[in-house]
Structures are given as C-alpha cells and as structure tokens.
Subunit: 520 residues, 2 copies
C-alpha cells in the first residue's frame, strides 16, 4: 500500500546497514515468491467441526481467516465496526458520504463506472497469496501501470518527462564510470579481460559514444519527434547533473519501479481494488455482522467473550485483526506486555486526493496510466490504468506517504482538506498547464483520520526493516485463545499480501489449539 | 514491430557515432510525441471530389490513405493481393491455414478467443497517430506488458529472474563508480558539492551499503520470500560480473525497456492487433478489392493504369504501399533510379513461433505478461498480457529479430520449421522445467517467406540510423501521379506508426497534385 521513504531507504540498507547483514546470509538460490504451500493454503477439511471462532474485523485478514476457517468446518462470526467490508481496502464510488475524524464531511461525486481506490491500488505479481484468492474466486485482473516514461517529473519547478530523467541519469552514471575506467582508476577492480568486457557493455547500457561521452540518446526523447518522408527526429540535449539531481527529494523516483513490491508486472482487479475483498465477503457473508464496533475483548475461562454494540459474542477462539491504534484503546484482558506493545506502534498516516475529470492526460499528453512525481507536498500523481480513451477518469492528485519528503505525510495532512485539494490541483496544473480547471469532484482521504483504521499500517521502530523488533514479536503472540492477524504481523507490511499471510499463521494457531495438531 | 540489434546499437550511436551528431543539434525543449497536427490529420473535406485514386495494398498505410482520401471526397479503390486486410498486421486465430514460400503448409489450431499476433504485437504510447485511429474508431486498448521482473533470463545455460539481473547490474555499476569516487579518481569530474550529492544519490540508486559495497538488495529477490509472524525473508547473494555478463548476447535486455519504442506504457488492442486495421477496413471496405495481386503499374498520360488479376484499374493517382521486395519485381514505368533503389532495400526477415498451452507460467511461476530473454536461437519468449488466470493462452516461444545474436534471424530461419519449433519448446522447457510437454498447436511464421511481405520492414544500409540514406530519399519521391507509402518511408520504421505517418505524407502529395495546394 505505502512505504515511507525512510522504510524504503532502510530496506535498501542505507539507514541501518541491513544490506550488509542480509548479504552475510548464504545465497540459497532463487525460490518462487512465497511457496506453493502458501498459495494453496487450506486447513484440513472438517477439522474445525464443533468449534466456534469470532473474527474481529472484516478486512482482508479477517475475511481470509473467516473463509479458511469456514472451509475447515469452524462456526465463524465476523464482527465489523463499519457498515462495509474491506477495511483499508476501500474503493469509493458514486455519491458515497465520507466522514473522517476532525475533518469536514465530504461527499464523493463520481460518475457511473468510476472509482477511487482510497487504500491499496496495486497488486505486485509476487503477492500470489492474495492473487491466488483472486484466481480461486474468479476476480478478473488487469495490469496496473506503475511506471510510465511519458509521465512528468516536477522537481525544483521544472517538469521533464520521466524518460528524459531516467535515461539521462543512467547516461551520467555510465559516463562517469567510463571516465574512471578509461583513466585506469579501476584497473585493479577486476581482471583486465572482464574490465574490457564490462566497459564495452557500459557503452551500450548507458548510451555512450565511442569516446565514452553521454550525449542524450533517443531514449531520452526528441526535440522533434520522428515523422515520415523528410521529417527526421532531432535529439534533445542532455540534462546537467543539477537538473537531474536538484535535491534529495528526487532520489526515490529513479529506482521506484525496481523496489521489490513495485516491480512489473503490477496488477489490479477489474472494477476496483475491493473486488477481491468483495469476492471473499460473498463466500462468508452469512457469518459477517457489519456496523458492530467492539467495546471489549475478554477471556472467559479458556474461551473468549467479545462485547460489542448490541450485545456479546462468545466463542472458543478469537482472531483479532484490528489495527494496533484501534485495538490499543479497546478494553481487554491482554497482558501488560501486549498492551504496551500496542500503544507503541506507529501507523503511517498517508493521504490521497482524487478528482474526476475528462482524460486530458490521454488526450493531450498521451499518458496511459503510471505515476508523476513531484517535490511538491502532494508527492505523487497517479493516472488510471484502465478505461483508456473513455471520456472520463479518476486521477489521483496526491498520494502522500513520504515518497519524496522526509516530513510527509505529516506536513500534508496537517493542512485543511481544501488546502490539500488546492495543492493537488496545483500540481496537476504544473504537469498539465491549463487543465486543472477540468478537475471535478475532489475527495481527500487522510488515513490517520479514518475511523477504525487510523493509518494504513505499522511503520517506525520495530517495523521499518526486514528484521522486526520486539514489539512485532510481542504482537504476534497469542493471548490464550485470542490470536492476531493483520499486515503489521508480517514481513509484507502495508500490503494485502501481508494481511492474508498473517491470517494463515493466525488460524494455524487456532487449529493447533482446537485439534492439538501443528499445521505446517 | 522489430528492431535488429544492429539497428538498435546504431540508434544508440554505438556503430555510427549518431549520438554525437544528434547531440550537436540544439536542444529545443521537449515536445509532445508527434504533433497535434499529426494526430488530428485530415484533408479538407470535399477537396478530392471528382478525383480517382487507386491504393495498392490494404495494410495500415493503404487503409489509412483510403480512409483519409475518402473523407476528403476522393473516389478510392484499394487493391489487395491477399484475401485479408492488414498486411503485416496479421493476427492468426482458430484453424487458419498458413502458407509460406518454400515452407510446408501449416494449420493453426487455436481455441476460441485465442489469437497469435504474428506481426506487430505492441503499440508504444508515443505512437499516437495509430493510437489516434484506435481512439477515433472506438478500438478498445489494454496494456501490453513489455517488461516483467519475474520473467527469466536464460544465458550461458543459467536461468535467473530478470529482477536479479537488472538490479545486480545496477548494483555493480554503482559499486564500481563509488569506488572510483571514494578513491578520488573523479574529483575533477564535477564540483566538490555536486560530487558529494551525486555520490549520496548513487548509494540509494544502486543499493550500496555505507562503505559503497553492493550486497544484493531485496530488489534482486529473496532466497526465502517474506512471510508473516516468524518468517522473515532471506536475501540472495549477489551475482558475479561473469554471471551478469557471460557474453555480448546479454547486452540488449539490460536496457531493452528503455529503448524509445519499447518504453512503458505499451498498449495492445483488446482482442488482437488487427483490431485497428479491422476498424479502418470497416470504414472503407466498399472500396477494397481483396485477392487481387497487381501485375503491372503503368503511367498512362498523366494518369495511372494498374494491371491486376482479373483486369485493369485506371485512376488519376496511385498510392503505392507495397513492400520494396515485392514492388521491385512488379513491372512498372518507374525511373531507373527508383528501380535500383527498390532492388537494394534489405528487409528484416524476423520470425515468430507460437504455442497454445495451459497458463503454467501464471499458475507455477506467477508471470503475468512480459518477455523472457535467452541466448538460444529463439532469443525471446513472450507471455500473453491479457486473459490472466483464464485456462489457456498463446505463448510466443520465439521472436527472432537479432535481439541477442548478430547472426539472427538468418541462423534461425534457415532451419526447418520443425526444428524452429523444437528450439522454441526447448527454451520454454529451460525457463519452465517440465512444462514444455503442455505446449500445443505450434505455428511458425518466417516473415521472409510470407508472400506479399517478404520481411517485416526495411533495415540495413540507408535505413539503419536516425539519418536515412540515398535509397530512402529516392523511394520517397513520387513517380508522376504515383506516390509511395509504408513504414519504410518514415523515421518510425518497422512500426504501424510509420505506415500511418507515411500515408499522411503520401496523400498530401496527392492533394497537392489534385488541388494544386500544399497541405502542411
């Protein structure tokens, strides 16, 4: 869903030296993402007969847990505070009313067939537990365009197409390295023959001329685009080092599409991200009670008692998928260690702003899906990856999560909604001069203010690295018959995949308690 | 459609120094691909009334010419040798019989809804003249996945996922450069502050640790993929320089997706590439005569006389879109210079091999669209970009065009069809062990042997660079009332966009002759 700049840099080993520690591990050869076991997860049929489980939360973790538990014969009740399923998987359509804590009431105003994925919007093809549910439940998928060389980068007040930035930086890097090699500074770095072959490759890779100079290849674009007959293209000049790197803000976009969870092929369900949650919900809806906030989580002997709006639900076991900031405030019999850990978890308070508009980005600028990047506070503009050439579309004018600023989303979400919308429209105006006047139906979602979520997922200390800290370990521990799930209890944090994986682990614990057998 | 390795390297300035000459041109600032004028091309309405034009060939150039001429009021006849429209835009379905020169008759055997784009398969989003026709004529588009980090690279007998190769090479390049910078070899390359900022960026860009070492970031993949609870990921080790660059064959794949015409966002028509040609054909079909090979092209006074199967067609003007190797053999009154130029044009004889199979690449390997690369003779495997999770799909087992071998497609197409299929299946077996037995319905298209095409487009001397040579200039010249069009008469050679652009130029010449006015 979102990764902070800090988390990303951390994962790349820049902040913590994690790269080194990972490297120390022996290479075991490449394995397929997750295991076949994870994709084909299932508890033994009938193994839960006679046992009752209450699941708290009808987000992905809760729905997956309920789906798998029911298949195994458990009697399941899912208790959900909201009047909708999906949790942070929230696809807004039509004229939905949007209430947020300490924010004015907003009303969506999207046309027929339009939607806004306020939460997650992409599915990496490596996330095949969640993709496996899409497959099993017949949810059609299409490609999500996560990188578009025609999209604009707007940094330090200058807009350039991504192709020019990406290709010129590779040219600059290659030119510098060729200079060092040709100047014999790296003669001892590898054997002579290898260095010669590497240098030859570098020329092609970075588009250098025979002297090792980078001179803006056609990959960077044209001043005049190629035509027919007597209309040859003409090249653009290369950008300077300062134009390519005006500030630290621009770092991440250069390798964004190579971040593991952002790599092609990226997918989306046809019709909105909530289609997978919807398909799961359809399988378990007779077990789901919506509009029912939980008021206390109690142990009663070796069983559980959930107090909630309208009554009490008793069960043998509980799968609790509530987000940490929400769960931390619900009265419970949890251990002091669990309560302390829950209180300490920081949730990323990212924000998105959407508009509906005629597809001027396709019509005028030939941009089909993909992301624009900026050092403005809105950070990210996202074009729709579907419905190409149809009259209108939903454009994301801001996706603020710490992509280009260390101080966002905080600096953005502290602003009034109207100002967030103004900044987003201003960024679109810079990318598409004269077009912001075509923007309609603005809608701003500040996840820190979304009731029953209060953020998009766990970040910060104990959650920011490939290694997890003590709070993570504590939160994974069951409390007697109560087990926990959610993206924050996985190493695929902030993604639906993590929610599904954690649900599998949680119900394996339930199964262990119920049947006395370990499910591997 | 296809670019030879030679042409690509040429375009990157590596063979000819073209990069340098282009760089000498003044940067004029980035302009949108092609001009609004090209997208909105149209001759003045009614301006062709009373004038008769014969168009030779119902490929994209011929269909675009006919469509635009008819809109302007010309009386148009399109003469097409084949019993189908589209020319090199050839989408094979069902049980189509496939005859090729000096090749055994083949029969397609594809299931309902399956198709094989034997010719072009992708539409760069910068090609908006052809995309403009798709838009105007209501042809729905979807994304073509042109790069997939999960797809395999099979070089020197070793298969690695693309993500590992791509990210490790960037790591290696960055590590080498960091070593040079940290060793003060590049202190004079840029001002100290810039160098410091550049070095900091390089660490993030290439995933280096604090000491400047590259240690395989998570972008390269995992030995154990991340799970939930107590299942952290473990890293793969970095590949060696020799594993990354085992031979020259592997060069192009590293920057393939950054080649101008291969850059994201790439598109395809829903249902097969011929859907755009089909939509154009639907507009002009009352003017089109199929199954009618041309036997002579004659001038008669200031008019033209086309001799063809079943008779003669006379017209005021002719738009000739026939491929050079075909046209070179048709008797005509062309000038000696034109005839000599036609004879000298080399056409790229690329080949494709397709199979239909259960989607084991999605089921087992989570590969959704994209390309696998290999130094085997088949060069390229292409996975379908649509119908994800449906039971079966058409997989391209070979796309041979000189991507990884300087001696292909020649070395491949000289082999018997059965051997071409065997090599392709063997490559798929290497990428997906045990799965080649699921391949069905092989079909091999050798474009050099496709009658009325004899190749996919002009390459070689005079066509291999951004600058065109004398033969190109000669072929663009009209012969009295006869004007010429086709991808080979454009700077977007081997693409439908070039065909459409050239058709525009050709009919502007017709208009000039007919009305005495220049169309800009």
């Amino acid at each position: 869903m979102a990764l902070t700049r800090r988390k990303l840099l951390g994962e790349l080993g820049l902040l913590s030296g994690a790269g080194v520690s990972l490297a120390a591990l022996q290479s075991l050869g490449i394995e397929s993402p997750a295991s076949a076991k994870a994709t084909q997860f299932g508890l033994p049929k009938g193994s839960g007969a006679g046992k009752r489980v209450v699941v708290l939360g009808a987000g992905i973790a809760g729905l997956v847990a309920a789906y798998e538990l029911r298949k195994a014969g458990y009697a399941v009740t899912v208790i959900e505070a909201r009047n909708r399923f999906g949790g942070r998987v929230w696809t807004i359509r039509g004229r939905e009313q949007v209430a947020q804590i300490d924010r004015p009431l907003q009303q969506a105003n999207f046309g027929q067939g339009q939607y806004f994925n306020a939460g997650p919007a992409r599915l990496p093809s490596t996330h095949h537990v969640i993709l496996g549910y899409a497959q099993r439940l017949g949810v059609p998928l299409e490609v999500f365009v996560n990188s578009n060389q025609s999209a604009g980068w707007d940094f330090a007040g200058r807009v350039e197409p991504q192709r020019r930035m990406i290709n010129d930086i590779r040219g600059l890097v290659g030119e510098m390295l060729a200079k060092a090699i040709d100047g014999h500074s790296l003669d001892s770095a590898m054997p002579t023959k290898e260095l010669k072959d590497f240098r030859e490759f570098l020329g092609a890779y970075s588009g250098l001329d025979k002297k090792g100079a980078y001179a803006a290849t056609i990959s960077s674009g044209f001043a005049n685009w190629p035509g027919a007959y007597d209309r040859p293209p003409s090249a653009v000049g290369r950008l300077t080092m300062r134009q390519l790197l005006p500030s630290r803000a621009i770092g991440l976009p250069y390798f964004f599409e190579q971040i593991m969870d952002m790599q092609a092929t990226m997918m989306q369900p046809v019709g909105g991200m909530d289609r997978i949650a919807h398909a799961l919900f359809e399988q378990v809806k007779s077990s789901v009670v919506l509009g029912t906030p939980v008021s206390a989580i109690r142990r009663e002997g070796d069983k559980v008692r959930i107090e909630h709006k309208g009554g009490v639900t008793r069960a043998d076991y509980c799968v609790c998928t509530l987000p940490a900031p929400v769960l931390a405030r619900i009265p419970s019999d949890f251990s002091p260690a669990k309560k302390a850990a829950l209180k300490g978890v920081e949730y990323l308070k990212s924000a998105k702003v959407a508009f509906e508009a005629p597809r001027f980005w396709e019509r005028d600028d030939h941009i089909y899906g993909g992301l624009a990047w900026t050092d403005r506070l809105n950070e990210n503009v996202i074009y729709p990856s579907h419905g190409f050439h149809s009259p209108r579309g939903v454009i994301i004018g801001a996706y603020v999560a710490g992509w280009t600023h260390d101080d966002t989303p905080e600096a953005f979400v502290q602003l009034p909604i109207a100002e967030q919308i103004r900044i987003s429209a201003g960024s679109i105006e810079a990318l598409h001069p004269g077009r912001s006047r075509e923007l309609r139906s603005p809608l701003a979602i500040n996840w820190g203010q979304v009731r029953y979520s209060e953020g998009v997922g766990a970040v910060g200390r104990d959650f920011g690295e490939d290694k997890r800290g003590p709070a993570y370990d504590e939160l994974c521990k069951p409390e007697g018959p109560i087990v926990f799930a959610g993206e924050h209890l996985s190493y695929v944090g902030l993604w639906q995949e993590g929610s599904a994986l954690s649900a599998h682990e949680a119900i394996k614990l339930v199964q262990q308690m119920a049947v006395g057998q370990t499910v591997s």
